[in-house]
């Protein structure tokens, strides 16, 4: 029941390699990794160390954060190569002898240092038809917790865009104009699975949102700090609905055996 704080890792000085830089005219990340020695305190997360650097070494180091409680999804960055929330990544869980590398999300254009331009995501969201109930008399609405559960899993999303940063379709292939990315697949799934929503977004999901670009690698799910099962519970059921609607069984079969 008592706190366990391992001293071995916490009262040490850690070596941080923090990206500092500015974008070129295309938003490319131009800059260098700067070395900072940071004396750690028990229980610190990466964001504590970044704040220490700001207060003691580099007052203009740019970092985006709000809550420092893993609730707002502002502080996404790549820590030792893994897209993560800086305020949720504990330092005493990391190897003591290696430098800790902190870089901005690679998939998005750079603004400065650790801050990237995520405005594309907000543009995508605007294209999605919002919740559309059959009637507006809420007093008559009834649905049960098990129906809510399925939708609430997706509504846990804190819009950290870590899944967007991770997904190879965006990260490596830059299909920003063709694929909405995992975050908005679950936004769509949430609307489609809402027990009272009557809009039909399947054509949109196939043609505009580009669900076909997802090849179910599940990398997004692995990194989601909210542990949303993006692929299994969101994308795959959506894909099934799209398939049911748009592909008749014969075409499907031919597709499967390579004759389609």
């Amino acid at each position: 029941m008592m706190m366990i704080v391992s001293d071995a890792h916490t009262n040490r000085v850690a070596n941080f390699h923090v990206f500092r830089g500015n974008p070129d005219e295309n938003g490319e990340h131009i800059g260098e990794v700067v070395n900072y020695e940071v004396p750690l305190k028990p229980g610190w997360v990466v964001l504590d160390a970044i704040h220490w650097i700001q207060a003691n070494k580099q007052p203009d180091l740019a970092v985006r954060w709000n809550c420092k409680a893993a609730k707002c999804g502002s502080c996404s960055a790549e820590i030792n190569g893994l897209p993560s929330l800086m305020c949720k990544t504990r330092l005493d869980h990391m190897p003591a002898d290696k430098p800790i590398i902190v870089k901005p999300m690679k998939t998005f254009p750079l603004i400065k240092d650790l801050v990237t331009d995520v405005s594309w995501n907000y543009e995508v969201n605007k294209k999605i038809q919002p919740f559309t109930p059959a009637n507006s008399n809420v007093d008559t609405w009834r649905y049960f917790q098990q129906d809510a559960d399925r939708v609430q899993e997706f509504r846990k999303c804190i819009e950290c865009f870590i899944c967007q940063d991770t997904c190879h379709v965006l990260r490596h292939h830059s299909k920003f104009d063709k694929f909405f990315g995992p975050r908005f697949m679950i936004r769509l799934a949430q609307l489609e699975f809402h027990p009272l929503d009557v809009a039909d977004r399947l054509k949109f999901i196939k043609e505009e949102a580009g669900i076909g670009f997802c090849n179910i690698t599940k990398c997004c799910t692995d990194r989601c700090p909210e542990q949303i099962r993006i692929t299994d519970n969101g994308i795959i059921p959506l894909k099934e609905r799209v398939v049911d609607r748009f592909y008749d069984p014969i075409t499907m079969l031919l597709n499967k055996i390579g004759l389609g």
């Binding site: 700001q54 740019a62 609730k71 400065k112 649905y143 049960f144 809402h194």
Partner: protein, 591 residues
């Protein structure tokens, strides 16, 4: 760095400018837009990230889904009693009456609340609420609220300005004319011309060392509004939430939702005693926050605290499945940040600065400032609704009730204006010059250590318990910090420069802090979120009827005076019987 003589800025014009995109700002913007106004929604962080996103336990509304006896009257009475009768009675009434409609409207816009067995919105018990009243989504109700309003807002024709900080409000002869600020990304300046303004910028918690609040809580709205003639009321009343995390140091202050107690969590001291029986035997853990916070403070002071200077809070008897379903964020928060499995044993908790009860003085019906025409305020930056102590869950409902009203009346005000007021360009240039001036300073100190000292000062001398001696010292030390803050050096360029942003925010925090300290010094009385060790009782004859009003004098000094507050009409007073009134006070003076 920019040359200091020439300052360019872009100019935008709107009927209504809403500053802040938390629950209050978003709801105001949606309403103003629905009334046909053109609306700018300006926020210093990204859309959907405002402080509101952190709210956990729920929003209070007398839907009566579980307890049919609930209605606006019990909710009104609970709010007034929780606020130690200091609330603006009319706001408390409007809030209780309108909250159910506003919550249902959220459902209409796509919110998915937890359900009752018969498929309606589930409600949970919370401190100070007589009935099960809080509509909720596990322990992430704020996220549900903000995302619902965000998704509604982006289809409402509102122009959103993200990561854009407003630094000054503009007025002509006591009427608002616009707002000035900068883009955080580039540091470039922007001028908004507007017919009316809704301030929805949140609280002042970042002036304190141990706080549950986000970085945005620097008192910008309070300071800016005062600068053009608005008044702040009740600023001595700060809510220290009884249960923040206490260790490790990194997470000190992070909130442990009251829902833990709402779901049956028990508080014990180092002796294993359920100590709330000594402070509020009837309501125990579900007493109001001010009482539980001071009880924990007293237990720790008297040597019955936990190893890390808190007390124990245990929910493990509810079983792992239940806890993971109803309190999932708490489960993960403790497991990942605190190395504690709350399904197996207790957490250590202690008070954390949580909520600013006071704020911009407004008309209870319209949310307009009585002293500045066209300036409206809603949400945590406004004052009056919660009196001396806010009940849990009453903020989220406050945001949607008064956010909507502020948007409605701001749009109406804008409609009555035939044209935009002229903008004094010289004034704007002065504001721009003041913003870049820190780059020219040669001092050695950056704003960061000054901020840390401010937080420590407020925590130790203007915190959960207060005394004349320390309040006087604090006021003197704040003056010194202000001088240091005016000299704080800023490095680098204007592009996304947190040091520069802090240099400016710091002055706002010092303004707000000074008012809290001055109001606290004058109130020789203890009630709700204000406890004086040297006046450790509720002096109802003198103080129950008085409200502090702060403003900026023409010479720039911040002054606080006390006035009689509006009298509750007889028919509402009649709702309270004598016995009830007594219980609202009897726990004071035990600390």
């Amino acid at each position: 760095m920019m040359s200091s003589t020439e300052h360019n800025y872009e100019t935008k014009s709107y009927d209504v400018i809403v500053i802040g995109a938390g629950g209050a700002g978003l709801r105001a913007a949606i309403e103003a837009s629905a009334q046909g106004a053109s609306v700018a929604l300006v926020t210093k962080s990204l859309l959907g990230k405002a402080h509101t996103v952190m709210a956990e336990g729920g929003m209070a509304a007398a839907l009566g889904n579980l307890d049919a006896a609930d209605g606006w009257v019990p909710h009104f009475k609970d709010s007034i009693r929780g606020g130690k009768y200091m609330n603006n009675w009319r706001m408390a009434q409007i809030h209780a009456e309108e909250a159910p409609e506003r919550v249902k409207e959220l459902e209409l816009w796509g919110a998915v609340f937890d359900r009752t067995p018969d498929g309606r919105i589930l409600q949970r018990a919370f401190g100070g609420h007589t009935y099960r009243r809080l509509a909720h989504v596990g322990d992430r109700t704020g996220l549900e609220l903000i995302r619902t309003l965000q998704d509604k807002g982006i289809h409402s024709g509102i122009d959103v300005f993200m990561e854009c900080t407003v630094t000054n409000l503009l007025e002509e002869n006591g009427q608002v004319s616009g707002a000035f600020g900068y883009w955080r990304e580039s540091g470039r300046f922007i001028l908004f011309k507007g017919k009316s303004i809704v301030m929805a910028s949140g609280g002042i918690g970042k002036a304190f060392e141990v706080t549950s609040n986000s970085w945005e809580y620097t008192g910008d709205g309070q300071a800016m509004a005062m600068a053009i003639g608005a008044e702040l009321i009740d600023m001595e009343f700060l809510q220290f939430h009884p249960t923040g995390m206490v260790c490790p140091a990194s997470v000190k202050g992070i909130l442990v939702t009251e829902a833990v107690r709402g779901e049956g969590g028990k508080l014990t001291n180092a002796l294993g005693e359920r100590f709330m029986k000594n402070y509020d035997p009837e309501r125990m853990e579900l007493s109001t926050r001010d009482i539980v916070a001071k009880a924990i403070y007293a237990e720790v002071r008297d040597g019955r605290g936990s190893p890390n200077g808190g007390v124990f809070l245990d929910i493990s008897h509810r079983g792992a499945d239940y806890i993971k379903r109803k309190l999932p964020s708490m489960y993960h928060q403790f497991l990942e940040l605190g190395d504690v499995d709350i399904t197996k044993g207790p957490m250590e908790v202690g008070p954390t600065m949580h909520y600013t009860m006071g704020g911009i003085r407004v008309n209870p019906e319209t949310q307009e400032s009585p002293t500045v025409k066209g300036l409206f305020a809603a949400g945590e930056c406004s004052g009056g609704m919660h009196g001396a102590n806010r009940l849990g869950g009453n903020s989220l409902s406050d945001l949607i009730v008064f956010g909507r009203r502020a948007g409605l009346y701001a749009a109406e005000f804008a409609k009555q204006q035939t044209e935009m007021l002229p903008i004094d360009n010289e004034k704007v240039k002065g504001y721009a010059q003041a913003l870049v001036e820190p780059f020219e300073r040669k001092g050695t100190e950056t704003p960061y250590p000054i901020h840390a000292e401010l937080q420590h000062l407020m925590h130790t001398k203007v915190g959960i318990v207060r005394e004349e001696k320390f309040l006087k010292e604090a006021i003197a030390e704040l003056a010194v910090l202000r001088e240091r803050a005016k000299k704080a050096r800023v490095d680098g360029s204007r592009a996304y420069n947190p040091g520069w942003h802090l240099a400016h925010d710091l002055i706002n925090m010092i303004d707000a802090s000074e008012i809290v300290a001055k109001a606290a010094l004058q109130r020789e009385d203890s009630r709700g979120g204000h406890t004086r060790l040297d006046f450790n009782f509720s002096d109802d004859k003198v103080w129950r009827h008085r409200t502090s009003v702060a403003s900026r004098a023409t010479d720039g000094t911040l002054t606080v005076s006390y006035f009689d507050k509006p009298q509750m009409p007889k028919e509402l007073v009649a709702l309270f019987d004598k016995a009830e009134e007594k219980t609202a006070f009897e726990t004071e003076g035990k600390f």
